[in-house]
Symmetry: C2
DNA sequence: TTAAATTATGAAACGCATTTCAGAGCAAGA
DNA sequence: TCTTGCTCTGAAATGCGTTTCATAATTTAA
């Protein structure tokens, strides 16, 4: 395959001039420019991108870390990131970690090795001290409140929004409220957990372990929740479900079992995915696509660390 | 940042020796190896991957083209690809095309520019003559029957499986059968369309345009299908729905409207996603994760073109 | 008309690791 | 003792485009 040298020789110019043509620099006379273009055409010249990367020290590649690609929350987030990446001529390198730390570290190492220009971590398992070791190598963007950290972040105030959601249910007359969440740990989960504990204290209700359901990510997990709910002597009258799909699964399972919603059980979803609209699920809208967009912009603009709080909106429908 | 030369100098060896240490070549004496490792440690040496890429002419990056990341079909497929990529030390570059041809071409161009070693196209919009222009630059793997083409492929026989599904419904007493599908064009859609047309001929039923529903991808699209169904004078008694999520949406919408399944309307899904199990939807199992795995292996093994047919399995549940 | 500013062009350095080739040293086999 | 055949090492070539710097040729401004 022809390289820049071959083109230069054939066109009777220097490689510098060819490079100028390639990069649309001014200061190339019209006739030489044309000569170069003609030869490039003739040789079907393909610029070796790796040489460009080596030379420029950048790759126009941005890493995206997600625990699962196959989850509507991350699906929408990645969609937002992908769309904005396209606009800015960046490509994405996808890291599916399944929440395995070594896989997350692999992504960080790619940043370190300059194989990607920056890294967006949509959900993290690593501790901060691990991440801190890599911040010098490129911009890292988190999807959680990281205002006091050495990275950029786009986040929603999960403490506040969870508190508000609980308050909303409480105002609707619910006292016994439980919640379903994806995982126990993780910054966002902890914020929500704290909001929950504080809320219980505020309304003077005891903390009941059996009111909390973990690993609640997908539609199909709703069934298990309803089954466990049925086994409780004193079940909650309302459930905050941090995924609309899981909420939809719960609603579906309840219908099957004759549990009436919202009278027997009130359900409040999160995200405002399309399924929530169809199934008339009251939910807290989280603008995931917009967040993805913002994450990418922060990743590109690696110079300074910025922090964007995104606000959520309660969408009232028929499950509360 | 230190480079291989600095390390060599400091360790008192040649760059060749450092390179040997880096690549675990034999023929390096123990003392020199240790000296090199010590200096690398001291300098916190990071190998410049782009230089490696340039030198080796490969990137260990594989492109994955999907129309949408946020769709359970592609979600599972990508999950399979991602898992296998991990095992083989490859990383993925994600291209979300939204079925825009220029975006697909961008991916092909990255192959051409050797920025990725090979390309997996999970669903294509480009014509063959476009793809053919790029086959020389690296291995291209398709997720459709491409046995007579210059690429590798992993596919299921959509004609056969669609025919069998239709036959199954027919045997259950259905004569008026319609189907829902993601898009009109595309190799797989055409195969299914042909199977449908042939089936109608076989059972001597007229082809009714209004029995076919396009753009049926997500749960929420089920509602629209049911609405349109209700407006038909002579609605089908059974529906083949090429996505379990859409099928689930239809089932849900029918329940709301009091349409009884399977008596008033039989539904058969595709993929056997978890949601199908929970909602007791009869479906055709497509082993997407396994397919993803296979696609990646073919992408890596770029030497020869192979073609793998994956078989499907009917899962009988309660919607037919 | 002269000084200053533009435009145009190329040689060479730079980014960095891999790989080929040549050669030295040493041990095993004939 | 001589020949093979390993083991070990490094110089130099290779992959390829970008960028800096120096210089020449024109224009424009003064």
């Amino acid at each position: 395959m022809a390289n820049i040298k071959d083109i230069a020789k054939k066109a009777g110019v220097s490689v510098t001039t060819v490079s100028r043509v390639l990069n649309n620099h001014p200061y190339v006379s019209e006739d030489k420019r044309e000569a170069v273009l003609r030869v490039m055409e003739e040789f079907n010249y393909q610029r070796n991108i790796n040489a460009v990367h080596l030379s420029k020290g950048e790759t126009l590649l941005i890493g995206v870390v997600v625990p699962f690609t196959n989850h509507p929350y991350f699906g929408l987030l990645v969609e937002g990131i992908a769309n904005e990446a396209m606009k800015n001529n960046y490509k994405l390198v996808l890291f599916q970690t399944n929440y395995q730390e070594d896989r997350e570290i692999e992504a960080l190492k790619m940043l370190q090795h300059k194989q990607i220009d920056s890294l967006i971590i949509c959900s993290r398992i690593c501790e901060w001290d691990v991440i801190n070791q890599f911040t010098e190598y490129g911009s890292i963007v988190l999807c959680e409140d990281a205002r006091n950290r050495n990275v950029s972040s786009t986040f929603i105030d999960h403490y506040m929004s969870f508190s508000n959601a609980l308050e909303y249910l409480h105002n609707k007359g619910h006292q016994k409220i439980g919640y379903c969440i994806g995982r126990k740990t993780g910054a966002n989960s902890r914020q929500r957990g704290k909001a929950y504990a504080d809320f219980l204290k505020r309304i003077d209700e005891p903390y009941k372990e059996e009111y909390i359901f973990y690993e609640c990510l997908h539609f199909e997990h709703g069934e298990e929740v309803v089954r466990r709910l049925a086994s409780l002597d004193n079940p909650p009258s309302a459930l905050l479900v941090t995924s609309d799909f899981a909420a939809a699964g719960i609603v579906t399972s309840c219908r099957e079992k004759g549990i009436h919603i919202p009278d027997d059980l009130a359900i409040m979803g999160f995200d405002n995915q399309p399924i929530a609209k169809i199934m008339h699920i009251t939910t807290l809208e989280i603008p995931l696509v917009q967040m993805g967009r913002q994450l990418l912009l922060q990743a590109i603009d690696g110079k300074k660390h910025t922090h964007e709080e995104i606000s959520v909106k309660l969408i009232e429908r028929q499950t509360v």
